[in-house]
Amino acid sequence: MDFLANLLPHLLNGISLGLLFALIALGFMLIVGVMEVINLAHGSLFALGAYVAIALLGLKFPFYAAILLAPLLVALVGMILEVCLRRTYGKDALYGLLLTFGAALVIEEIIRVVWGSGEKQLLPPPELSGAMLVGGLIYAKYRLYASLAAIALIVLLWLFLEKTPYGAMIKAGAHDSEMVRALGINLTRLRLFVFALGTALAAIAGIVLAPIWGVRPHMGVDAVVPAFLIIVLGGVGSFWGAVLAGILVGIVVGITGAYASEWSLLSMYLLLIALVTFRARGLFGKKTVLEA
């Protein structure tokens, strides 16, 4: 009984952590699903979101205005990247990979040139910071708000994809882009919009996580690896797969952090190996023709 009582805070912490992981992965998943491009610049755009928010705060923008405006500015960068990517569509996936890898390096270097290599801080406003007691244990208030923000964004994105005509177009584009084009939908514009949305989500995740992780030019690497892992774990293209995989990774990392701390980072990779061994297409991935 004592063990379970001790375990409970770690379980809840794992879920909260998992929601943040899911938030990082969603934008990545959207671009992979619709564009069939593995966007290796996702991590750098994640970092750029945090830096742009810091810059806006430096220009005396109110906190909430800065965190709303920063993802829009990063989305513009994403749109430029999408325009650069156009010549790679329909070609070997390696072209897209190389281009986004190059973009990741360029964005990180631009961050270094503009903001320097040192640590920056994005402090949450007083009403979101501080600590609270949960079951006799001190927990950061901001972490709770960040998890709630992650839930809200996940639900909003789901509603957008499921309940709006734009969402239907995006899903159709992911399923069969040629058919979408044949129906008279402007696929070029659709792809541009999806890339902008995906990068805005990366920036939002960067801003939400900045007060927890700190802000440094290479912070994107810390985000893109779990994001990639979560997409594979959840099943490429599956919305709820990504959310569930994110939560699963959070729980595994949270619990190993408490009971076998040296395995806490490794645990997510072990989880991936275990799952892919028995279910190669991930939790909610669709069977391929070869598997049928």
Partner: protein
Amino acid sequence: MKRRKLLQMLAAGAAFYGPWKVHHAWAQAGQKKPLVIGLTMDASGQYGASGMDERLGAMLAIREFNEKGGVLGRRIEALHMDTETTPATGSRVAERMITRNDAAFLIGAVHSGVANAISQVAQKYGTVFFNTNSSSPTESGRDCHRVKFVWDGNGTNFNHAIVKNAMRVSGKNWLLLTNDYVWGHNTSKSTRALVEANGGKVVEELMVPQNTRDFSSFLLKIQQIKPNVIATAVGGDDIKALRQQVVQTKLDRAYAWINNQQDWPDVYGLGPDAVFGVFGTTWYYRLDLPGVKEFVAKYQKTFPGVQIKVPGNVFLNGYLATRELLRVVEEAGTTNNLAVIKKLEGRKMSARERMQHHDAWIDPATHQVQQTIYMASYNAKPAEADDIFKILANVPPQEVVDQDAPKACKLETYESTPSYEA
């Protein structure tokens, strides 16, 4: 006919070259190649920020010597490659610098795994290597080498300065938070030994994998265990993230925190609130000692655009190590590695020269610089924005000597160390 013409040309050439070869400038240009120093410093990864800071320190020392005409009449050329806080990269960079770039000496390391990797390659070629900032006790113990000199205080030195006092003030039940690599392991091992030797108890040791960004599960676990003191051996970007999260949860006020060593780049810019607990360092930019103010002014004049506006311990180690190497080469009158090593072993360095409170020396048995250790904490009354440390005490090197290092260190013989002249 052809032979005669050739001889005429040779004679003409000799007649022209003869007077010139004794002319100083021409002779130098003809004979003296630049002295290449390889800077094996991280520019990315966990210790990227510290690596860049110590690089500036080394560059300042090299610049000072070049302004005086170089060393032994040779211009000094610095060659930097990013060791990426990765031991394998450290080995590759060292191998390349020595075999392809003719680096005469190697300087730089923050991560102990990287330092160890570089020093193995350096020993293979006999290349003198200065480990500037990595402070695992193994660096001057089990992993010491004839060619390697360790410039930072190590985990045991810092523990000697801090542990006893913290036990007396805060209590006997300790929890160790350990970065899961060689420096963390060996620093915590030394903390454990000192705690237990003084009647304390280590109630738990939590390993922190490198590149951990989320410490929430560690912080919850700490609260469930309820230790008196938390001793961290966590460095680089990991300690930055940990500090932020501890402050967010206000656990900095709930427990006594001991951070074995606090490097300046790891705390600079986080704001005064992120500095808590008691920690060790080897220098602070506001020490009231001769030369400190001038040194800070020189740093600010030389590097006006850098983010870290005042120098810290990591920068100073990079500077002092490089300066001392060049001085020794000049004194030895040669770049011969064995001559340089012999000059370094047992070398004494005055407190004034190093801007510390006590004289320092290089232990000939371990090749570690024995120096003043400072105990510091958060400064509640800062004189300016960057004045975030309060120096609590300075401890002479004699009182913090790592007694285990000489037992563990087995330096290679001179005979088995390859000799070279750069």
